[in-house]
């Protein structure tokens, strides 16, 4: 294949997958059902793994295959399974109650996306991998944080944290040819993995103590 075209295709594929990650993120923002949210997260992680695979394939960076594989195993299979099991075991009510209503949060996320793109704008020349990726990564982080404070239940906040991490990983993968070392990526990955497991246990405890997952109840801990 002509190398110029292959780079083009790679850039296009990455941009597409990155944007699909963003779309999934927005769907997460408007999703009411807890279990579906978890599945959406899995889908988003799958797109991330896909991006890593594309990067690895077109740039011949073998270590990125490891990232892709780990992402797939960890975030597409293991974590969703863990969260899913926990939701089912605790028999949490299915409906998520956001603080801000859906159209408003949707439009807020639209605004955050604009912000993400504006922030990423000066770095256009730095990226060779489709100019959307960094912007999407920043947006994922921003909307992830927005998601975290827009949700009441602890488990949804865990999900939001995971999407933030997806954003960080995306940036790492997208800029990978500039030498983000594998160790750092692995570090982030395991860091979050452990954090989520700790949080999952914590959520379980909160639920045991308060008979609810509403983090608003934590204010009662104040003496």
């Amino acid at each position: 294949m002509n190398p110029a075209i292959s780079t083009d295709i790679a850039a296009q594929l990455i941009a597409l997958l990155a944007v699909l990650m963003l779309v999934v993120q927005l769907l997460l923002v408007v999703q009411r059902m807890l279990l579906t949210s978890i599945r959406l997260f899995a889908v988003q992680s799958m797109f991330l793994a896909g991006i890593a695979a594309v990067v690895a394939f077109f740039h011949g960076a073998m270590h990125v295959y490891i990232v892709a594989g780990l992402t797939f195993i960890g975030k597409v299979m293991f974590l969703p399974w863990l969260l899913d099991r926990q939701v089912r075991r605790m028999r949490i009510g299915q409906e998520i109650e956001p603080l801000v209503n859906f159209p408003t949060s949707m439009l807020t996320c639209g605004g955050l996306t604009l912000l993400g793109y504006i922030v990423a704008r000066p770095f256009t020349s730095l990226e060779r991998l489709g100019n959307n990726t960094l912007a999407v990564a920043i947006t994922l982080v921003l909307t992830g944080i927005f998601l975290m404070f827009n949700r009441r239940k602890a488990i949804t906040q865990v999900l939001a944290l995971l999407t933030v991490e997806n954003g960080v990983m995306l940036a790492a993968v997208a800029l990978t040819t500039y030498g983000m070392p594998l160790v750092v990526e692995l570090g982030i990955f395991f860091d979050v993995l452990v954090a989520v497991m700790v949080l999952a246990i914590l959520v379980y405890r909160i639920r045991e103590s308060f008979d609810s997952m509403d983090v608003g109840k934590l204010t009662q801990l104040k003496g």
Partner: protein, 314 residues
């Protein structure tokens, strides 16, 4: 000039002939997917033929607006269809109006449809009109923004130009702008044609109905025109989707071979979109009316993402 007239007649015939088939296919496939046998794909033609032969009962409360509305609905849908390239890249009426006129014509049809719903003094009709206009109003910004995205890329609001500008290698159609705008427009399509997450086309006499509520007092010839008009509108929007976003295999010239190939590719892509509609309809339940804005605001944000992702870096 004569070739334009010929195109005009040909495309009118195609619109008239194909629209009920698409509706029929969707009904049939949906039934198949739900393990029912379902009506045959030709059923919509039979219905229309039957309606045409029937006597009409017109409400005694209705005024002249009621009788003119079906014609406006029918003609405006047809006119809108004549602006969209279907089989070749050239639409017969592309000089007379582009995508903005298309949106305007669909709005004109809707305006009279809603008036026709209000006219017979039935509460159902008023309900349908009110909801139809509301949903159309909140779908409109998403529709326009998605359209703007492609129009800006092509530098024209003329659909033939837009289609020609989009033509290119197949992989280049999978760019983010295209995919996002497509997704936005697809949601708008569901809302505008009264498909399941927004309205239930199969329902009659329920408090949830929208489109059917407006048609409740229509019968005979008028009903035939209304139903036919609605299916043409659906076909037009689907054609807009498949040809603006994935104009693969459209005939660039008027040779029979190219046209035949164009027709085949068009039908294939059309049935693909119809299939997706069927899947969406089968997999989802109808949304509550006040949840519809959630969906449409999502469409709006998708369309704005399409805009941001393309143009902020140029």
């Amino acid at each position: 000039m004569s070739s334009t007239a010929f195109d005009f007649v040909l495309q009118t015939a195609l619109l008239l002939g194909l629209a009920p088939l698409v509706s029929g296919c969707i009904k049939n496939w949906k039934a198949k997917l739900q393990n029912r046998r379902g009506p045959p794909v030709w059923q919509v033609y039979r219905d229309i033929g039957k309606f045409l032969r029937k006597d009409m009962v017109v409400s005694e409360h209705a005024s002249w607006v009621f009788s003119y509305a079906p014609y406006v609905v029918f003609i405006s849908a047809l006119l809108a269809g004549l602006m969209v390239p279907m089989v070749s890249t050239q639409a017969p009426l592309s000089l007379f109006g582009g995508v903005l006129a298309l949106v305007g014509l669909l709005a004109l049809g809707r305006f009279f449809l809603a008036l026709g719903g209000l006219d017979p003094a039935s509460a159902f009709g008023g309900m349908g009109s009110s909801r139809e206009m509301t949903i159309a109003a909140i779908a409109e910004p998403a529709l326009m923004l998605a359209i703007f995205t492609v129009a800006l890329a092509a530098g024209s609001t003329d659909l033939s130009h837009i289609v020609q500008a989009t033509l290119g290698p197949a992989w280049s159609l999978l760019n983010p702008r295209h995919v996002l705008a497509f997704a936005a427009l697809f949601i708008v399509l569901l809302a505008e044609t009264g498909r399941i997450p927004v309205d239930n086309p199969a329902t009659h006499l329920e408090l949830t109905m929208i489109h059917e509520a407006m048609l409740l007092e229509y019968s005979g010839r008028y009903l035939a025109l209304m139903e036919w008009g609605a299916s043409i509108k659906q076909l037009v929007l689907m054609t807009l989707l498949v040809n603006v976003f994935f104009p693969i295999g459209l005939a660039a010239d008027a040779s029979p071979a190219a046209l035949g190939l164009g027709l085949l590719s068009y039908l294939a892509r059309l049935s693909l979109v119809a299939g997706v509609v069927v899947l969406v309809e089968t997999a989802n339940a109808k949304l509550r009316l006040f949840r519809v804005p959630d969906l449409l605001s999502a469409a709006f944000v998708l369309a704005s993402l399409a805009l941001f992702s393309t143009f902020l870096f140029q």
